[in-house]
């Protein structure tokens, strides 16, 4: 009896906390169907009009494709750099390893706004502000630590003896990498790419400092749109992006589990 009550109370608590956690998203979801030109609750009447507007909004659509392209490229390059770094860190012993490990961890800890000012100062003289290369570089810096982490996790999960078995049975080091290690860390590679993609796709802070009209990404476009108007269009766009992200997250969870990824 007592235990049942306790369990019920706990379930209630969890429900309330989830409600709190999801409150703004729920509100955004509901508002996305409103027909008024500003965000207010509850909606007066419901329609899919805002969704139609999002798909007709040339700026959003072109920024979406730009963000998609940048994200994919960042993801790809980031896992490449991440894989090499991970291999070095998990398969080799060398001096300065600690320093490199710290260097990889550090971007987690430095606030993006601080990094943003620095990135702006570095990219400026190079003429890379408001350019694809600039965003790409900036995003590469903040995503690589994540890919190193996910790939290192995968590498650590690979039994070294499996690689040794391959070597003993006649595989050269390159063959071991190609035939054994890479296939085995594939989930980590995919997860790393996905996370890098998501971060790049969602990144606003640094982008706001270095991006302007030419290379605006979807998040900066949203930010600027929100500077002048808040209407259900932005809610609808958010809902669309949440759906995309959740889809991607589900894929990651399937592949390696979220906890290891983030």
């Amino acid at each position: 009896m007592d235990a049942k009550l306790a369990r019920f109370a706990f379930a209630l608590l969890i429900t309330l906390l989830y409600l709190f956690l999801l409150a703004p998203i729920i509100v955004v979801l509901v508002i996305s169907f409103d027909t008024r030109q500003y965000l207010a609750f509850p909606p007066e009447s419901l329609s899919f009009g805002s969704y139609a507007k999002v798909f007709a909004n040339v700026k959003f659509i072109s920024a979406f494709w730009r963000s998609l392209g940048i994200g994919l490229f960042v993801g790809l390059v980031s896992i490449f750099a991440g894989l090499l770094l991970s291999l070095a860190l998990s398969r080799h012993d060398f001096r300065g390893k600690g320093a490199i490990n710290f260097l990889i961890l550090a971007p987690f800890l430095v606030p993006h706004i601080v990094l943003a000012v620095g990135v702006m100062l570095v990219l400026g003289p190079l003429g890379l502000l408001d350019s694809y290369s600039g965003i790409f570089l900036a995003h590469l810096g903040i995503t690589t630590p994540y890919t190193v982490r996910t790939i290192t996790m995968s590498l650590m999960a690979v039994d070294r003896r499996i690689e040794e078995a391959a070597r003993v049975h006649g595989a050269s080091p390159a063959m071991v990498l190609w035939r054994i290690t890479l296939p085995l860390v594939r989930p980590g590679l995919i997860a790393g790419a996905v996370i890098a993609f998501l971060i790049s796709f969602d990144e606003a802070t640094i982008s706001l400092f270095i991006v302007s009209v030419k290379s605006s990404t979807l998040p900066t476009e949203i930010y600027h749109y929100l500077e002048y108007s808040t209407d259900p269009q932005i809610a609808a766009l958010s809902v669309i992006l949440i759906l995309i992200s959740v889809g991607v997250v589900v894929v990651v969870e399937r592949l390696i589990g979220l906890r290891k990824a983030l």
Binding site: I162, R167, V168, H169, A171, L184
Partner: protein, 351 residues
Amino acid sequence: MADHHLEIDNLVKTYPGALKPSVDRVSLSLPRGEMLALLGPSGCGKTTILRMIAGLIPVTAGEIRLDGRGISAIPVHKRNMGMVFQAYALFPHMTVAENIGFGLEMRGVGKAERTERVLKALDLVKLSGYGERRVSQLSGGQQQRAAIARSLVIEPALLLFDEPLSNLDAKLRDEMRDEIRDIQNRTGVTSIFVTHDQDEALSMADRLAVMSEGRLEQIGTPRQIFDRPRTDFVASFIGAGSFLTGTVVAPGRADVPGLGILHFTGDVPAGGKARFLVRPHRFVLGEGVNAFSGVVEHVVYRGQILTIAVRAGDHRLQADLPTHAATLPAKGDRVTLSVAPDDVTLVGEAA
């Protein structure tokens, strides 16, 4: 199989940063077709030797020769060794057939010949029909056989086993022992088998090499090792027993302080000190040549045998008695244990 044998000559391995060598001047040689068990407690250097032979780690000093030729300069993937790892280390992303064919593929063997040889290897380890399975769909025993097949199919110069049985349960372990021995017999491949399980070593290998702290303590046939251990370490590592130290008072007779006269077979000059070992099984209940009586201090029933500890004089003698004897001693009983002089093992002369 190729015609060769292995010689290890004063092999030393000191890991970078380590204070003392993990393998310390070990020399041994294997006639072709032999199965040698490398036996010793955890950390004594067994795996290290195996890995040096395979080429997975460089040697610090000494030489490894195969058919008389030094192989230290040959990289791992060209040494042509078969190795069965503790957890098998099968490639989890390949089918059983792909696993077995991997070594052949690396050697550039064409697809048709590869398929044929893989099928033959599957047959050899009684896994015909399992080729298309995923590794995870095999039982522990089947995985082991697949790992052996993967090593055998490349017709290795040597087959190395690193405690392949240590994570199987008792029943399966027994079956696997027979299986490995059987396959080794049929293929005649020269093999080294690492284990820390004396029972495994005794029952499987042609010869045993007992190691301790990086050094080779003794090498010999199972019976030599068990019945004629050259050191206390070997004697106590392989099977239990009661150690007795005495002064030889006449040929074949020693005076063990606190116990009495011990008759033994062996050449130790009178006046010298000697160290003896009596295996628990060698004691029998009742009078005999070497008869010692005392009080039973401890009794453990183990089904087939009863292990008792008897306080005789200053000594505690351990004896294994068959449980089908009419009456079995109980704790507190006064009993007489005796052992034939032939069953007294001379371990060495004591200092």
